[in-house]
Structure formats: structure tokens, C-alpha cells
């Protein structure tokens, strides 16, 4: 239910901002803006900057709205769960008599433990009651505890707030609802509103606060940067091992019939095996320590790098090789001055993919078993229901993965400017 409302708000913001911003944009008058055919011309489609900014703001806005964040104005909040005092009346019929009494309900925050509200008994056979209930919980009301005629003596609730009821019926009251159980006891559930329980989704400020705390105190004996550093170290070590073995292997496969024939079946078989499927075997063989993780990442990077190097070699135009031979180059010189530089763009592309896969694999491997690392952090936090740390971890994992990709792209631009220019 809440999900549908979130989706509706999201779509609403999307459509509204699109209508507003596509009307005002288009102040640039470059060549592309003058194209009349844009539908179907992919090169004329450029990301709308306003859309990008609004998209991110919207995510945070929704997060704040549905967690009751103090970072956004109150009127934007989704309806909050009910807190405070409310009451309802019940009417009891027993031994031919009828009487009405009031139940005072205190709905309190889950973290607090207030005293029961004090009420006077009132008159008649039914006496007034008071209960307290925490947010997002519900409670049976033992109405006959202080009454003159107990349930066991035949007392029966016949109406709530004047509405006739029988077991199973439900009456909405201010701040919640009352359901009559099968045995005739009223059950009070407070209004949950539309906000997410902090257990499921903590508010942004809670995550920020927890970030500060984890930054200062660390998590499970290791600092936050330490956890991320360990994950990064594993990725880089595993990737480097994979590249050191995979690139020469790929070259050999691209240059020799025997190597191609020998390794093709292995590489083609291992390529579609997701590295995650190797985790159990690697744990059996190498345990859950660093060796196991680096072996796993090595295997994740190896095939990708081998295939990248192989296709880098096969991508060399034969006329370049012929030209180099006609200019007097030896085999070694062909390798050094033609094949390697020509395959570098492919290898960089492979390296980007491999780093991405390794990063994903390391987090998964740490989820399974680790003492340090980003994956371990979110796994342990989830066991203790520290959702804020889980969210913090996911954000950091995403940011680092993105950062790795950006770095690789930057390196590619600087180191192989001839990419795609052959």
C-alpha cells in the first residue's frame, strides 16, 4: 500500500517536473538543438541536466517524506503514525443488564515506557479501563478485569462507540481501530500512518548520524575506512593477479594455434560461470581468509582479461601487421610496437568490466564470510537490525564502484587516446 503511494508520488514528481522543465529549457542554440528529427536520432538525445538533479533530489525527498525526516519541512511528511491519548467506549451486556465504559489508550514511542494513564472507575457494572501500546504494535484490552461481571460469567461486548459489534468486526476510532477477537476481546491497533518504521528504513539524518558515529568508533573493531580499504585491497590484489596471468594468456591464445586450441574450451566454459558460484568451492579449498578471497577475485578477473587480450590481438588489422613486417620489424618488435598498443583499448575495456565484476564479487564473498570488509559490515549490521548501517554500506559500496569506473575511464582517456580511431 505504502509502496503504491510512493510510486504515485514519484511518478507525479517525474511528470510534473518534466512538463515544467521541458517548457522552459532549450536556451542553448547549438547544432543539435536545431535538429527537427530527434525521435529516433540517438545522437540528438542528451541527458537533461535539470532532470538529473531533480531525480536525485526526488529520491532524497521521498526518503525524507516517508521516514518523517527532520531535514524537510513538516508539511511534506507522509502521515505519521499516531502518538498520544485516545479513547473508545464499549458497551457490555451481562445477565440482562447493559453498561458502557471508556477505555483510555496511550500510544507511545517504542523507545519509551510511560506509566499507564490514570482513570477513575466510573459507575455501572462496567468500569473504565486504561491501556498503553507502542507504535506499530497492537494490544488486547482486558476490559473485564475490573468489571463487576467477568467474561467467564457471561459478560459480552455488544457495541464499540455505540456501533453494534460481534466477534470479528472492526470499528475505526480516532488514532486507530478496534477489532473484536474471536473470543470477544477488543484488540486495539494504533494508526500506522504511511511512514516507514525506522527498523525498515531509517531517516536520512539517522544514517548521517550513524555515519559520524561509525567513522569515529569504527564497526566491530575496524574503522569504516578500514573495512572499505580491505575490500578495495582484495579487489586490487585479485584483479592484478588476474590481469598478470590473463593478459599473457589472452595474447598466447591470439597468437598461437596450440594455445588457442588448448585454452579455448577452458576459457569458454569458465566465462559464463558466475564467480559467486565459485564461492563455496573456494571456501572449501582455501578457507574464508584472504587467500580464498583473492583466489576468487583472481578467477573472476582472469577470464575477462584473457578474453579481452585475445580479442585485442584478433582486432589487429592484418594490414598493420603486414606493414610492420614490410618495414623490417621482427616478431618481437611486431609484438611490442603493433600488437600490444593495438590491443590496449580492448584490454582497458576488459579491465573496466573486470574491476566491476571483482567489486561485486568481493562484496558478495564478504557477505558469506569475512572478518573485515564492506560486505561483512552490512551483513553483520543486518543481523543486528542496524538498518542505518546497512544503508550506509550500500551507499558507500555504490560510490566506490562508481569511483572505480570513473578512474578507469579517465586512465583510458589518458593512456589510450587512439581508442576507436583505427
Amino acid at each position: 500500500m505504502t509502496g503504491l503511494i510512493v510510486l504515485a508520488v514519484y511518478v507525479g514528481i517525474f511528470v510534473a517536473s518534466m512538463v515544467i522543465f521541458t517548457r522552459i529549457g532549450a536556451s542553448i542554440r547549438d547544432y543539435t538543438s536545431l535538429k527537427t528529427v530527434t525521435f529516433g536520432d540517438e545522437s540528438a538525445v542528451r541527458p537533461n541536466r535539470a532532470a538529473g538533479i531533480i531525480s536525485i533530489l526526488t529520491l532524497f525527498l521521498l526518503w525524507g517524506m516517508f521516514t518523517g525526516s527532520s531535514l524537510i519541512p513538516r508539511f511534506l511528511h507522509a502521515p505519521a503514525p499516531f502518538v498520544g491519548l485516545t479513547s473508545f467506549e464499549y458497551t457490555v451486556a451481562a445477565s440482562g443488564q447493559q453498561d458502557t465504559a471508556t477505555v483510555t489508550v496511550l500510544v507511545h514511542d517504542r523507545e519509551e515506557n510511560p506509566d499507564l494513564p490514570v482513570v477513575d472507575d466510573g459507575d455501572g457494572i462496567a468500569k473504565n479501563d486504561s491501556i498503553k501500546v507502542a507504535q506499530y504494535r497492537s494490544k488486547l484490552v482486558p476490559f473485564d478485569k475490573n468489571d463487576d461481571i467477568k467474561k467467564s460469567d457471561g459478560a459480552k461486548i455488544i457495541a464499540i462507540n455505540g456501533k453494534k459489534v460481534k466477534p470479528g468486526s472492526r470499528v475505526n476510532i480516532e488514532g486507530g481501530s478496534v477489532t473484536i477477537s474471536d473470543k470477544g476481546t477488543p484488540n486495539f491497533s494504533p494508526d500506522n500512518g504511511l511512514q516507514m518504521e525506522p527498523l525498515y528504513l531509517p531517516s536520512p539524518e539517522a544514517v548521517i548520524e550513524r555515519t559520524g558515529k561509525v567513522l569515529q568508533e569504527g564497526f566491530r573493531g575496524t574503522s569504516l575506512l578500514g573495512h572499505l580499504g580491505w575490500s578495495l585491497f582484495r579487489v586490487i590484489a585479485g584483479f592484478l593477479c588476474g590481469a598478470i596471468v590473463g593478459i599473457p594468456l589472452g595474447y598466447a591464445m591470439g597468437l598461437s594455434n596450440w594455445f588457442r586450441g588448448w585454452f579455448d574450451p577452458i576459457v569458454e566454459f569458465m566465462r559464463p560461470v558466475p564467480p559467486l558460484a565459485l564461492i563455496p568451492l573456494v571456501i572449501i579449498w582455501a578457507g574464508i581468509g584472504e587467500t580464498g578471497k583473492i583466489i576468487l577475485l583472481f578467477l573472476a578477473a582472469l577470464w575477462i582479461m584473457a578474453i579481452a587480450a585475445r580479442s585485442g590481438v584478433s582486432g589487429v588489422k592484418i594490414s598493420k601487421v603486414h606493414a610492420a613486417y614490410s618495414l623490417g620489424a621482427s616478431k618481437w618488435q611486431i609484438m611490442r610496437y603493433v600488437i600490444i598498443p593495438n590491443s590496449l583499448p580492448e584490454i582497458f575495456t576488459g579491465a573496466r568490466v573486470a574491476m566491476g565484476v571483482c567489486w561485486g564479487t568481493v562484496v558478495a564473498a564478504e557477505l558469506v564470510a569475512a572478518e573485515k570488509g564492506a560486505g561483512m559490515m552490512i551483513m553483520v549490521a543486518s543481523k543486528f537490525q542496524n538498518t542505518d548501517i546497512v544503508i550506509l554500506g550500500i551507499i558507500l559500496i555504490g560510490v566506490i564502484g562508481f569511483g572505480i569506473d570513473m578512474l578507469m575511464r579517465g586512465a583510458e582517456r589518458i593512456l589510450v587516446p587512439w581508442k576507436g580511431k583505427g
Partner: protein, 268 residues
Amino acid sequence: MSGLSIEKLSMRFDLPGGGSVQALKDVSLDLKEGELLSVLGPSGCGKTTLLNIVAGFLAPTEGVMTLNGHTIKGPDAERGMVFQQGALFEWMSVRENVGFGPSMKGMPKNDKAEIVNHLLDVVGLQDFKEKAVYELSGGMQQRVALARCLANDPDVILMDEPLGALDALTREKMQSLVLKLWKETGKTIILITHSVEEALLLGERLIVMAPRPGRIHKEYRLPFAELGVNSDLREVKTHPDFGPKREEILNMIWDMEEEIMGTAEADA
């Protein structure tokens, strides 16, 4: 004995699906030092195969080739090659591309720089020395390819449709450049082309090849290359013999193409 000599060259290879192709049959050719030969023929006549064999990229099934008295076995710096396009090394600057051959030989830096500078002057690319090759236009790239080939000082230059991908104007300028370089350096040049006009302009000798099997159909000796060295190529084209020769060769190739079409239809 100086010059290139090809004797009874044949090339036959098996097809993967069975059967075999006779790409060349009994091709014999003698080329004196400094001769400029252009090769014409319909597609599939084996002219590129012939060039690849002379370059040493393919081994003939029969026949002998000698250059200055020694047998040709594989690719070598004595036989330079200029390709249609895309054979430059885009990870090197123009200067490095031209200096590639001397670098491979381990020539001292200063000598190399001198050669490269001289050749860049010859092809008019001195100002583009440090540019990446992919920043140059198609015509400029082919001038780099020519300079790179000449930097190695080969005995024979093999050209596989070097101007095929250029626009008409650039092509004309490049044809003059090829003639100029031929005269200045006195190299033996074999040029393969699709264009009858180009073959006439850039051939002291011209051979027309016929397909199935690839063989030399007819040979000409032409005055146009010699004329073109000193005058405008457009003027050469107005020479009284030029038009009739062009018609004659065009008709010859046209007939061959029709014959191929005919047999193809008969096969079908």
C-alpha cells in the same frame, strides 16, 4: 642481376568446403630497376594475391621469384608496401610512423631524424609532424604511408590500391606526388589499381590480368607516366593516345567481367 624477376608463378589453394581455386597460373614478369608497373584487372583476377606473394605474405605453390638475384622467401624491408588505408599505427605520431622502419633497424637517432625530416618535407607534412595520425585527413594519411615506406629505402615499392579510398581531387594530387617520388627516388614500383585512368597515368608498363585462373592477359608500354612527371596530369589526359587506350582497356575489362557474369549464371 638487378631487378625483380617472377617466373611461372602459380597459386592454388583448397577451399574449406572441398574443391580448390587456381588464383594464379604461370605468371611471369621481369621488372628492371626503376620501372613503374601498374596492374589492372577485374575483381578476382588475382592481382592482390600476386602483390601479396611478391611482398612475401603468401607462398606460391609453384614458381620462383628473385629480387636482385636472391630468392624471395618472406616479408622484408627491401620490399616496402603501401596499403589502401588503415595500415598506419594510430598510437604513434606522424613522425614516429615515418621513422618506424629506421627505428626497427636500430638506426641512430640523428640519422633517423634527418631522414624523417627530409621525407616530411617531400610529402609536405612538416607542420603535422607531432600530430596523431587519426587527426589527419585521408589524403594526408596516405602521404604519411608513402613517407613511411620511403624512409626504409626499399628496392621495390608495392602499392595495393593506395589511392582507392580518396576523393577525386585528392587522388589527382596524390597521383602527381607518386610520379614525382618515382622520378626522384628511382624506385621500382608495382601499383595495383581499379582505375583504368590511374593505371594509364602511373604505369610505364601496364599489365591487364584476366581471371579464372589469374594470368597476365595483355601488356602495354606507355608514355604517359614519363610525360606526367613534368606536366599537369590533366594535360596528359588530353594526349591523343590517352583516350583510345583508355577505351581499349575498359572494353577489355568489360568483356572479362561479362564473361564472369555469364559463367556465374551458367553455374547457377
